[in-house]
Amino acid sequence: MGIIEAKNLVFEYIRRDEEGNVEGITRAIDDVNLDIRQGDFVAVLGHNGSGKSTLAKHINAIHYPTEGTVWVDGKDTSDDVNLWEIRQEAGMVFQNPDNQIIGQVVEEDVGFGPENLGVPTAEIWQRVEESLKAVGMYEFRKHSPNKLSGGQKQRVSIAGVIAMHPKCIVLDEPTAMLDPNGRKEVIRAVRALNDVERITIILITHYMEEIIHADKVFVMDKGKIAMEGTPREIFSQVEKLKELRLDVPQVTLLAHELRKSGLDIPEGILSCEELAAALGLSKGKNKRERLNKNSAEKKEKCL
């Protein structure tokens, strides 16, 4: 059993009209089975209304299953005895940074979670320091969150979750409201947490470029898991993704279009490097010199 497991998960809610009369029942999650291993980076895609966020809210017991079971680290989420442990082990980060920050000072905000867990004061400060360093926001610890950029605020929100020492973090469209730099900052921080701290990541997003490094991708549609696989397997199916109202990274789409025009290029190209190689363009000498100069920087931009 992995860190998160769902078995025959069904979630239904009752729709009511203005007088409170029952209008019908909507099945938002329809028989979902999942098994996520500790330390994995998992991406969840799906159009608006496909059930992604409803699924995510089952992972830290904001929603309980109507049928079936969800276990977080072996604990059944529908058993109230486990509630506090599950909320501490599975943290959530939401879309709008302004709705998640409550402290007047960055470090106070990050300390809020562990304080509520009853962590001793000295350890709270230690956790605040570690968490802010992990997301690259330590130098802002004395700042007011109101004056930060969107990407910085989101990283503070993430630090607030890390300070609770979770095993897993669910991020529900954390970059939807951010500018390109903010998006990069947040994704970089999340990937570092996964690589270095081995925290399990579940990332829900509409930006396809953000998930090409994921270990596994789930695509949701009508409350069911419509596709699952590695990013390459998923992004090889351009037409199917479009039917599900989704998209692929620009480089993948360009390669797909070139392939349709008769070029001999495989499906599921995920980076500029791969596209160039598929077109038979090798790295020249100039290229190598240039790469040495700013290889790290370049790599990130040309994912």
Partner: protein, 282 residues
């Protein structure tokens, strides 16, 4: 006929310790019928700028002219200006409030003092312009999907028959298809009616695909103002101010570096495909 910004500056909380210059000496001419992309990192002054265009904020220095008239003249009709320059805020669906979709869209024209018939005709036309099917007209706006709600909110502004439509991140939080649908509708609307559109966006790919002119804001000033190919040529400077070029532009640079003879000013997938095929044939 156009909007002219003449040495416009705006200082928040002037004379206090919180004083902050959000706009510094902005000079712009926005002619009729252009599709403009306004980009810049968070806090660069984009939103402050667009709120000047319909008189929600008054400049602390300089003047703004709409069709030749200074909009801050004492006898200028600001109410009419706001019907002519329609502003769709971020997450406009949060402003829906009526019991059904149709009544919500009627709210604007009704407040212009139009009669019932004219109001309803306009609401109907606006809902058609955003591509909403008749079956949703008498549903509660709160029962619609995210993309549909947003279209209703945009229709509410279109029903005022604006000559200029400003959209502040109209696609934030929508799925890729919903994003394309909304932007395609807006592009179509502009082709059919000749309305001026100003699109504030954080998506370089969207901006590259739709607009014919990009204005880049940085620290309250205009950093670049040109067509997309020209602006994204400065991708290094854009990165320094928190922006980027579309991924496809980076791809073209990479291919060029590796010896494929392609134009690096390309900003859309369709252009890139043709350019690569052409270069490979050489």
């Amino acid at each position: 006929m156009s909007i002219i910004l003449d040495h416009v500056s705006y200082i928040y909380e002037a004379g206090t310790a919180m004083e902050f210059a959000a706009l510094k000496d902005i000079n712009l001419v926005i002619p009729d019928g252009q599709f403009i992309g306004l980009i810049g990192h968070t806090g660069s002054g984009k939103s402050t700028l667009v709120q000047h265009l319909n008189g929600l904020l008054a400049p602390t220095g300089g003047s703004i002219y709409y069709n030749g008239a200074d909009i801050h003249d004492s006898d200028y009709n600001k109410k009419e200006l706001r019907s002519k320059v329609g502003l769709v805020f971020q997450y406009p669906e949060h402003q829906l409030f009526e019991i059904d979709v149709f009544s919500d869209v009627c709210f604007g024209p009704k407040n212009l003092g139009l009669n019932k018939k004219e109001t309803e005709l306009r609401a109907y036309a606006a809902l058609k312009q955003v591509g909403l099917e008749d079956e949703y007209f008498y549903q509660s706006p709160f029962d619609l999907s995210g993309g549909q709600k947003r279209r209703v909110a945009i229709a509410g502004v279109l029903a005022m028959k604006p000559e200029v439509l400003i959209l502040d991140e109209p696609t934030a939080g929508l799925d890729p298809k919903g994003r394309d649908e909304i932007l395609d509708q807006i592009a179509k609307l502009r082709r059919e009616t000749g309305i001026t559109v100003i699109l504030v966006s954080h998506s370089m790919e969207d901006v590259a695909k739709y607009v014919d002119r990009i204005i880049v804001m940085n620290r309250g000033q205009v950093l670049f103002d040109n067509e997309p190919g020209e602006v994204f040529r400065h991708y290094k400077e854009l990165e320094q101010v928190g922006l980027a070029a579309p991924q496809v532009t980076y791809i073209m640079h990479e291919l060029k570096q590796r010896g494929l003879d392609v134009d690096t000013d390309i900003t859309t997938i369709a252009e890139a495909k043709n350019e690569i095929l052409k270069a490979l044939k050489k």
